[in-house]
């Protein structure tokens, strides 16, 4: 493989990872507020289908994204209403919505499979795209990629450097304490659950309109679960989450390359590499073994290593909050 080919592979990894990054950032916003939206897989399928169909019918790709965001917001508001207002199990609601989105998208989209629709236009950023290596990988892409990059930084900044971000994190850590400081915890949870859902919807539409163009039954089935796993994998941080998404994309690309190199080995074997890696990391992060490993390191490394390797979920994740 020569340099140009390698750069092309890396650029495609970035493109492939972008919708995942968008969904991960959305779910991080939701979970940091204390709500788990488990419906990602169904939401993304529904958003991908509706986004593709509306884009095609209106001949406007942005209308497709708008509808995708709307569908995501609607699914998320069902989760929010059920768990915040009705006090029902977030897991049960999210899970049923996943199944619903899967079947509903197959049913409503059955007349639109394998058709040609609109796609997101390519747009290289002037000057930046001419930077050697980095330019073609990151800046000679399209707006979905740039939006994902913006979200990584934007979400991180919002969470860590702003007063609303503190309130958001506080509601997910210790809602009683946030309430005592004047935060309307349940309203805030509504806002971020719906906002996060809209981003997940945009991610779904980004598949059918850009990364994996078109629609067919179960088009991107599984990507929602991957996004949920990456949120945990990334320790609820957008930057680590983005790394997770890229790593996932890279192992998939590696699987494709290996597949070509060893055609006699079954496809299934290579396809399982990303999952294998993911489960290993999930088991390792924050376990006793990690701690033992850290303790064996020099003293000055321990604190930074721990910060990277130890993750803990928002303390009040999945628990409803009642005032007073």
């Amino acid at each position: 493989m020569n340099n140009a080919q390698l750069i092309a592979v890396l650029a495609s990894i970035v493109l492939q990872a972008s919708p995942l990054i968008i969904a991960v950032c959305g779910e991080i916003l939701t979970e940091r507020s204390g709500v788990v939206n488990l419906s990602l897989d169904g939401t993304m399928l529904m958003a991908a289908m509706t986004g593709f169909v509306v884009g095609m019918l209106t001949n406007n790709v942005w209308a497709g994204f708008a509808v995708g965001a709307l569908v995501g917001a609607i699914f998320a508001s069902i989760v929010a209403f059920g768990s915040i207002r009705l006090n029902q199990s977030q897991v049960a609601i999210g899970f049923v919505l996943t199944l619903l989105g899967d079947d509903l998208s197959a049913f409503l989209g059955q007349n639109y499979t394998r058709m040609k629709g609109v796609t997101v236009p390519h747009y290289g950023i002037p000057i930046l795209k001419d930077i050697p290596v980095i330019g073609p990988i990151f800046f000679n892409q399209d707006i979905v990629v740039y939006f994902a990059m913006f979200l990584i930084v934007g979400t991180w900044w919002w969470l860590n450097k702003t007063q609303p971000g503190l309130k958001l994190r506080g509601s997910g850590e210790r809602p009683t304490a946030a309430f005592a400081r004047g935060v309307d915890v349940n309203r805030l949870r509504y806002v971020y659950t719906i906002l996060g859902g809209a981003l997940v919807g945009i991610a779904g539409a980004a598949y059918s309109l850009d990364v994996k163009i078109g629609w067919s039954d179960g088009h991107i089935r599984g990507m929602g679960w991957i996004a949920l796993a990456i949120v945990i994998f990334g320790g609820w941080s957008p930057i680590r989450g983005a790394f997770g998404a890229l790593l996932f994309g890279a192992t998939k690309a590696l699987a494709t390359i290996l597949q070509r190199a060893f055609p006699e080995v079954s496809v299934v074997a290579f396809n399982s590499i990303p999952w294998l890696l993911m489960i290993l990391v999930l088991l390792a992060v924050g376990s006793d073994y990690t701690e033992r490993g850290i303790k064996a390191m020099p003293k000055s490394w321990q604190q930074p290593l721990r910060r990277v390797l130890r993750v803990s979920p928002p303390m009040a994740l999945g628990t409803p909050f009642k005032e007073g």
């Binding site: 007063q163 309130k167 850590e173 210790r174 005592a180």
Partner: protein
Amino acid sequence: MQVELRDIRKYFGRVKANDGISLVLKPGKIYALVGENGAGKSTLMKILSGYQPPTSGEILLDGQPVRFHSPADALAKGVGMLYQDPLDMPPFRVIDNYLLGRSNSVRLNYKEARNELEGLSKRYGFEIDVHATIDSLSMGERQQLELVRLLAGGAQVLILDEPTTGISAEQKEILFESMRKMTREEGKTVILVSHKLEEVQELCVYAYVLRRGQLVGEQELPCLNEQLVEMMFGQVPKRSQRPPFAVREPVLELQDVNIETYQITVPDINLSVRAGEIFGLAGLEGSGQRLVMQACSGLVAPAKGRVRLGGQDVTGWSYHRLQKFGMAYVPAGRLEEGLVAGLTLTEHLVLARPDKKFFVDWKENRQEMAERITTYQIVGRPESTADQLSGGNQQRLLFSLLNTPLKLLLLEHPTRGLDVRSSDYIWQLLYKRRDHGTAILFISADLDEIIEHCDRIAVFSGGVMSRILDARETTAEELGHFIGGQV
């Protein structure tokens, strides 16, 4: 700021938590609010700090009637409350925790906040590391930070709920000194809610006494403790004397026990507790004493060393095997670890009894539980669920479920949150156990309790068992300095 409460009532269904309480709190003074468990202290303070609205009644600040919509609203109007477990954000950095909720702008002004935080800390003699995270702070430091946050938020009236539980002697001194400064020099109003009458006498100038939701007395301080106790209970409950105790054979022996977790290493514990002995483990929370208890109960395996129980080497035995061998463990979280919230008392008994038959004889168990309810003076019925009981009754239930005979009884904070009368009853039960030759090992954050009831005390500080003391020759003050790591 002058606070006036007029005819405050708070009803939960038929229960009258507050039944027409009126009182006045003047600026520049430290008040005490005392009363037995369930007297209505917390309800009243929650109303005053905006967590709950009263059913009826009025709150006046400097003569103006006010209505609080939330705790934040109360703070904005000048009333702040410091909870026993401070309402902060454990994984946050100190500065982020301080800033949360301080303003409505999007930007965070770290520099200004740091200056403010350091300025206020300095004024009250607190030492807070701005760069630390909350979960690395001690309970005392978290309290100081929360106090500073309330003061910066504009608190003129401060309510402190059992603030001295789990903090060191020096931190207590700093806290008391800061409260004196706030009242004497700055004219703030301070209300201390506490079960510890010694502290009330030391710090406060005036006490309000609640009983069954009503104000039953007020008293200038200092006064005789008996006067307060009589108002709290209607009569002076007699305190049980410590029965004499004869030294018997060793029951629990720890030999060179080392315990390691990722947070702390507890090295070289050598300990021998005899039959009938009451042995206290003292130390600030997280100093290693809880790990030693867990090692004795089989919940934590020691990395090195031997544990012997009644002469038998039990190192590495599981919790259940030790239970069968005559060990019992009563954890601190009554509803979290000790009892099952939704199960009835009879169901608890069935689970606790050693002979497990496949079919349950409900009739027999109900009778047995009814008997134990009488014996242990539990307010409740065999068919009540555990979460319906008050804290004191939950603790009695836990004791009623212990099997006899026991070689070793391990206890965490046996009387935490209980008033004088309930605590005394629990200790009577424990003395009875000791007469039967049970060795009792317990941890408590209440140093007076440890001094009063123990034969010997092991002091823990920073994971090290630094010394073993004879309780009869030690004062609570000395003990306080030892657990703070002083020689």
